[in-house]
Amino acid sequence: MSAPSRRAPDALDAARLREEFPILHQTVRGRPLVYLDNGATTQKPRAVIDATVAYYERDNANVHRGVHLLSQRATAAFEGAREKVARFLGAASAREIVFTRGTTEAINLVAWSFGRTHVGAGDEVLITAMEHHSNIVPWQMLCAEKGARLRVAPIDDDGALRMDAFASLLGPRTKLVSVLQVSNALGTVLPAREICALARERGVPVLVDGAQAVAHTPVDVRSLGCDFYAFSGHKLYGPTGIGALWGRGELLDAMPPWQGGGEMIASVTFEQTLYNVVPHKFEAGTPDIAGAVGLGAAIDWVSAVGLERISAHEHDLLGYATEALRGVPGVRLVGTAREKAAVLSFVMDGVHPHDIGTVLDQEGVAIRTGHHCAQPVMDRFGVPATARASFAAYNTRDDVDALVKAVHKVRELFA
């Protein structure tokens, strides 16, 4: 890889960035922590932690309800966070942003609300073979209920989507396409814009699962050309329990609510309930206000650092790590597509990924091992599981060196 040439002149100073992450400055099992499980969740910078604490210490109240000052502040903070998400995604308006618990809930919302009204018997929902379980199971549930069919576009041996097969599966019965933008198990970056354009030609709406993308590449939903976009805050240096769904305003307006309760109503009598407008129509119950505030702070932080710089930095690490791991005898990379984000999945001859994970943990290196909630991907590559290192803005080449050194230890132990 020609990674260094991609680095901008004002390359990101990861070592300095680390200072902002309190959790990174500890030892685990007697060694300095090397955190390479960012695909599962990223760590949180001081700014995010402080924003959440400050919210609880100064502004905490319920939103959209009270006339008192704290409620007004909480509402302003919550709706301010919605504005930040809207700008971050390039949405036309903040009313197109629905707060959810995360990507999974956002996809379920679309499956329940949009899916149940637009997908009928004999219709099809099209996904890819590398989806996370959260972008498989909601559609299976919908298809089972409606007598519809889930179609799966295949991937090649490198883990890239076979666009020809995808295009031929996009048929007259296809009512919705739902694809990830970056694969959590393989690191593959999908040609999301091309997919959206193809679907648009045929009048099929597209949901893009951006869970693994938002922290690694700038996203603009309008230039992407999708109809729904889902992501989680906790993979974007924000808190767990908060995420968002972006949907085209006219689609959201036409969709029925999916959960009933407070907040999502305009008026309630026992005879009839009038629903609130979007996005509130989709936000029944008291939301995770502190989570939204934290997410807003995370977006501010990421924007200040710059996603272009983060992306360049992570590509440098990915190239460096790919090269180094390829040099370890017995190591095989799983997921070698040309377009990849900061994920490195691998297996080792004669060593189960769980054992790799335990040995690495002993060396202070935190990685993910298992099927990564993508069992069909594991089946596709004929492995029960993989070991996965995934990078974030605060990782350094020293972290990669620690990883590679630990992988050598695995080899020694199981030789």
Binding site: G30, H354, T369
Partner: protein
């Protein structure tokens, strides 16, 4: 201080590389499958029981070093034992691998386990306890349900 060699003792590494009784068994009087949905480890156990004694036992499956070695060593340990003895051995094994982190098992506990005492180090790795116990759960399910165990026993 836990150390990798405490977990991956040479006996464990040896059984992982060369699992004993790694085969099917026909005819078997008892059979069950075990599955750990978290990591995808799978194990199948076949047992031949006669007059309340395990005459033969075998396993097949795929998993990590801990689960493979545990299965291999379990088959060696339970062969020739009465069902009551097997249950006692399971209890002891379970108590040792799920014991409190940092607390050393007593010499008596370890002695009662025989060769299986090499798994004592697993208690320092809570995420790996199920790797060691999966095959035992499959064994007990097989003995409880007989040949008709049609649902795999799960660690979750």
């Amino acid at each position: 201080m836990s150390d990798l060699r405490e977990l991956y003792q040479s006996t464990i590494l040896d059984h992982n590389k060369k699992p004993r009784n790694f085969r099917t068994l026909a005819p078997a009087t008892h059979h069950a499958d075990g599955f750990n949905p978290l990591c995808g480890d799978k194990v199948s156990v076949w047992i031949e029981v006669k007059d309340g004694v395990i005459r033969d036992v075998s396993f097949q499956g795929s998993g990590c070093a801990i689960s493979t070695a545990s299965a291999s060593m379990m088959t060696e340990s339970v062969k020739g034992k009465t069902l009551a003895e097997v249950e006692t051995l399971f209890r002891r094994f379970h108590d040792v691998v799920t014991g409190e982190i940092g607390a050393e098992p007593s010499d008596d506990e370890l002695e009662a386990l025989g060769k299986l005492a090499v798994f004592a180090g697993v208690r320092e790795y809570p995420a790996r306890v199920k790797c060691a116990t999966l095959v035992w759960h499959a064994l007990r399910a097989a003995l409880a349900d007989g040949a008709g165990a049609d649902r795999p026993v799960s660690t979750e």
